[in-house]
Point group: C2
Chain length 166, copies 2
């Protein structure tokens, strides 16, 4: 039973999924790479929520959806492809994967991760990017990639926490 709770109860999550699938199709088409049905299925599963999902969770979801048994390499290969094309990100601190909402724009992996509800949202800040470049440059380091994982409480979990404490 992998009907995960919606990440944000106030939004129609179906749109997130269909948007992600549509732009993935278009993007793969433009790049001449193949978004096979397996890859698309994995992408769709990743997008079932805004919570990062582990490879083995995805594997179980795949198996549940398809009667046949699914082995780790099947899901890892699909994940590798999706990572390669920037359609998903990997959250290192969680060994988990999450859909990328803006795969057309090349960017680094920067996330706000709620320690209460597990939702992870991408963070984009030009100032932050610049700070990284500057700080690295101060050390004479030439940057090829970077990842930021920020843990804390999302706005709605902060609100819940406040209510609790009264």
């Amino acid at each position: 039973m992998y009907t995960l709770a919606k990440a944000c109860s106030h939004h129609n999550h179906g749109h997130c999924i269909s948007d992600a699938i549509n732009s993935a199709r278009q993007l793969c088409d433009e790049r001449g790479v193949r978004l096979t049905s397996l890859r698309e299925q994995v992408l769709e599963l990743v997008w079932q929520s805004h919570k990062p999902l582990g490879a083995y969770t995805l594997m179980d979801m795949l198996a549940e959806a398809s009667t046949r048994r699914v082995a780790p390499p099947t899901v890892y290969r699909a994940l590798d492809f999706l990572l390669e094309e920037g359609l998903i990100h990997r959250i290192n601190s969680l060994n988990a994967f999450i859909g990328c909402p803006s795969p057309t724009q090349k960017h680094q992996s920067h996330f706000l991760i709620c320690q209460n509800c597990s939702v992870a949202v991408e963070l984009e800040s030009q100032a932050l990017n610049q700070s990284i470049i500057d700080a690295a440059a101060d050390s004479g380091f030439s940057v090829t990639s970077h990842s930021i994982e920020i843990n804390g409480l999302c706005p709605s979990c902060q609100a819940s926490a406040n209510k609790e404490s009264k």
Copy 2:
């Protein structure tokens, strides 16, 4: 044979190790926690180089040093203690651990990781810290911790790369 190459050939790495051990002893003493010989040994092994080391590598190093066999929980418990006390950091993207050069100052885990020589150095930038806080605040997110892992080339590997290409 775990005599790893020195991280920086131009410095006397013995100082790094002895400084780390000395300040760890003092710090644990002040806090009333016990830097047992096992924990100190693991800390010293972590400090054998400026390259992050995996738990199983450390386990093998421990075993080599002590005739008796060493099981995973032994090293993980020591690592947990050292992490707890801020004496080491964990590099999530590498599943590896590295000594903290400034354990007395509470700080987040920010690293520059050379993809050529594997050396990881801590990055401290007030501007960067502020950028994170600001960016999170823009999203209404309350931050409890964060980690930054920047991959690229350290100055000396950049120099080598330039020489190579001539």
